[in-house]
């Protein structure tokens, strides 16, 4: 009797899994229907949309999907209003007002206030947009409150462009180009760097700074027109267009 009861309980508690989608299938549910535009080749998914596939999960309030020939043949996905997505396969998750995902070219674009995109250990934030091109191995962050956090380095700038290389399935940032008219900042464990433009080269282990350069380390502040930081040696040099312009302030903090 107890054996039957246990069996019955097992069936009851697992029936939901039996009704779930099969492996390889994509399940899309909506609360307010789907509009299929056959000539224009797209369909609109309305209200509390949930997309679950083997590769990713996405939630949004309105999703537009462009297809090639048939509905399953997805070319591009545009989700808007409280978009949240997660991909275990690509180790990526994000949220924002609008998400554009070009499936063929593997390009993800998140835009709107408080956009977020986490790519493995790299965290990207912006009130403008975040764009990741997976095939080209590049990314762009642009707009107000744009920032990037990676390997204990905190970068703030209105424009952050980067390239990452794929080593053993892990994406590492190999180069960065940061710009900000109102001064960008790069904050490492012990140094704060400020300027209007900066380049980072991982291979050469250098960060170059241009215009209104300011480097702060402990009680030391050095300003100039050009700065270069060796990330391996943790040393830096500041120079100026005008030889008299470099200024160093060493304050006694004791």
């Amino acid at each position: 009797m107890i054996k039957y009861l246990i069996f019955f309980l097992l069936v009851l508690t697992n029936y939901k899994y039996a009704l779930c989608r099969n492996i390889g299938e994509t399940e899309i549910t909506t609360e307010d229907g789907i509009e299929v535009f056959q000539e224009e080749k797209y369909y609109l998914l309305k209200k509390n949309v949930e997309i679950i596939s083997d590769e990713f999960e996405l939630k949004g309030n309105l999703v537009k999907i462009y297809f090639e020939q048939d509905l399953y043949d997805i070319k591009e996905l545009i989700a808007s209003t409280n978009v949240n997505f997660y991909s275990n396969e690509y180790n990526i998750k994000g949220k924002g007002d609008t998400l554009k995902f070009n499936i063929q070219n593997e390009i993800i674009n998140i835009s709107g206030d408080k956009s977020e995109l986490f790519l493995e250990e790299t965290k990207m934030y912006s009130d403008g947009y975040i764009n990741v091109n997976n095939l080209a191995g590049s990314f762009k962050i642009e707009g107000l409150n744009s920032k990037l956090i990676s390997d204990n380095v905190f970068i703030i700038g209105s424009k952050i462009n980067g390239v990452f290389d794929d080593k053993n399935g892990n994406r590492d940032i190999s180069s960065l180009e940061v710009e900000d008219e109102n001064l960008l900042s790069i904050i490492t464990e012990d140094t704060e760097l400020f300027s209007k433009k900066a380049f980072y080269d991982k291979e050469k282990s250098i960060i170059e700074l241009f215009d209104n350069v300011k480097i702060k380390r402990g009680s030391e502040v050095i300003t100039g027109d050009y700065g270069i930081l060796d990330t391996n040696k943790n040393s830096y040099k500041v120079s100026s267009n005008n030889s008299n312009k470099v200024k160093a302030i060493i304050s006694n903090t004791k």
């Binding site: 009861l5 909506t30 609360e31 048939d70």
Partner: protein, 145 residues
């Protein structure tokens, strides 16, 4: 020990009953019973096995049903085993109102759309613009293979 057995049985039965009610709740949640049913007083249908087609720009949708009744001069209600079939898809339902003047087909009944590697379950649909736009209404589930 026997007390424990009794207790276990009571607990298991209560649990089963709770699960059963949850199952019923989920089942009824996904079954839309608020669908409008249009009553036809006449028991015999105006058209037996109606068959016609909607000609779009790029496709022709043929429509078949077991019964058809005129609601107005332009509106026909198609009932029982209504099938919309084109070279790309099939839609199955049981109750559709078709306007022969505007060529708009509308159903408030559970519908199933089947196409290449695709299926859609919805609480009804509208076919407008000669079949170019299909609007699957209410809670909808789309499966892409």
């Amino acid at each position: 020990m026997s007390f424990n057995k009794k207790l276990f049985l009571i607990f298991s039965l209560t649990f089963i009953i709770i699960i059963f009610f949850i199952f019923l709740f989920i089942f009824f949640q996904y079954t839309d019973y608020s669908q409008e049913q249009i009553d036809i007083n006449e028991k015999t249908s105006d058209i037996s096995k109606p068959k016609f087609s909607i000609n779009g720009k790029k496709q022709k949708i043929s429509v078949t049903a077991n019964e058809g009744n005129f609601l107005t001069e332009d509106e026909i209600i198609l009932e029982k085993n209504v099938i919309f079939k084109s070279n790309k898809f099939k839609i199955y339902t049981d109750n559709v109102i078709f306007n022969k003047k505007t060529l708009v087909a509308s159903s408030q009944n559970k519908s199933k759309f089947i196409s290449n590697n695709t299926s859609i379950d919805s609480a009804g649909f509208d076919i407008i613009e000669n079949g170019n736009i299909i609007y699957f209404k209410g809670k909808t589930k789309l499966i892409l293979k």
